[in-house]
Amino acid sequence: MSTVNYQNILNPAVCQIKPSGIRKFFDIAETMDDVISLGVGEPDFPTPWRIRQAGIASLENSQTRYTSNSGLIKLRQEVATYVKRKYSLTYDPEHEILITVGGSEAIDAALRAVVAPGDEVIIPQPSYVCYEPMTVLTGGVPVIIETDAEHEFKLTPEALLAHITPKTKALILPYPCNPTGGIMEREDLEAIATILREHDILVISDEIYAELTYGGKPHVSIASIEGMAERTVVVNGFSKTFSMTGWRMGYACGPAPIMQEIRKIHQYAIMCAPTTSQYAAIEALRSCESDVAAMREEYDMRRRLIVSGFNKLGLVCREPKGAFYAFPCIRSTGLTSEEFCERLLYAKKVAVVPGPAFGQGGEGFIRASYCYSVEHITEALRRIGEFLEELK
């Protein structure tokens, strides 16, 4: 038997990528009984029935073949109508919209289309775990901006300016933000847009949580700010808004010259997004406004409950204005985030995610998802309360 030296075979750039810090706790939790989790970043609602029905109908009608690489034109037209109505964005369904396998594929393809080796990509953190590794894989250099609780985890113009160099190619704008719940309001976006225009920086705006904002403040897309549509790729999708995680449906909208290159990557890597899911997605955009509103209202209630719960327990928790996570500060316990999560899991069987899983700036915080029933959240808070008592 010959021995293979896999280290010689594998791409060192890939080997150096660390597995997601979220996994570790899930793996421990899975070996335990009666764990109550606030870990999952996935809606608990089933996909609204009409959407499922549209998927079923497409199968009954034998719509089981490849679609156009860009996605069904009908779906792209619906996306164009939807983003126009919701976010005042104007895109040509023929050349400026691409249907992808979840928002993740869109982010990956957009990065690969624009980032050349050595280019710098600015990434505000704490934020979703994929941006940094995906940037590294393109040969790009991630430049991290730590956002903080004091500024509601917003990207400030001062911080942005301080991190721009001649090599800066792109900014990833992850708002509404997983895990912080931070959002960027119009004036926040206008402030950074001026800088982005001046320095000619492309924005990859991950707006997957756009429909989940609370307190009557609808999401504003940076592409709707004067002079920004031409330098922005908007990434959005169906997973969070329509509770369609398993369908793997996302989309990217942007200027035709960029989209043309992104489409090339998509074409070679993916061919086209799943056909059944595309038919289901058409129905989602056409007729599920009220389902989304009902889910949003339910999340909002849970959000208030969990935020007030953490604050009552003495873990300072700002009001998250978007997404479906609370991001309380655990510094008062004297523990690191990692210690807190590990001890909580072993002592009380509650699984939450340590803040540093989303970047070093997350130290001192934990992420608790509120995609759970009120009863589930209440029980988790009760156990966390016991844990804190026993720490004293």
């Binding site: 899930f26 989790s37 996935e42 608990d44 775990v129 995680t245 209630m301 849970r302 935020v307 009120v374």
Partner: protein
Amino acid sequence: MNLKLLKLLSKNARYKTEELAAMTGRTEEDVSTEIAQMEKDGLIRGYKAVVDWERMDSAYVSAIIELKVTPKAGLGFEEVARRVMKYPEVESVYLMSGGYDLSVMVKGKTFQEVALFVAKELSTIDSVLSTSTHFVLRRYKELDVEMVETNGDDRGTFSL
């Protein structure tokens, strides 16, 4: 604002005032006062547990009785409906559109007991023209609550 409270209470009447206050973004005092007022006004009529009686030895049977009724001049169906609802055996009474007039949910210890109640009490009321009895065989969902085991939360831990 009442609407939010009512929606929550009709989902789970045992939410604590503290929880209701947090979920609706109001003070506990406000919530208590409002609930007391809604009870006093009769907007909230009562609170009950949703019980899976099939698991108890002392299970009861229930039936939906369709009543066809001659409406009375000036009173319509009001008089007979109010009379029917007074029986302790009667769980609910609804005035219906369509092929019959009153839908009456009746419960008893046995099928026979229910059948006899219909024959002796309901069908003998003057304005009742006919009755049709449908026994409940199994409850799958009651008052929004699923009465049979379903999948529950089957989400994995795959999301990041």
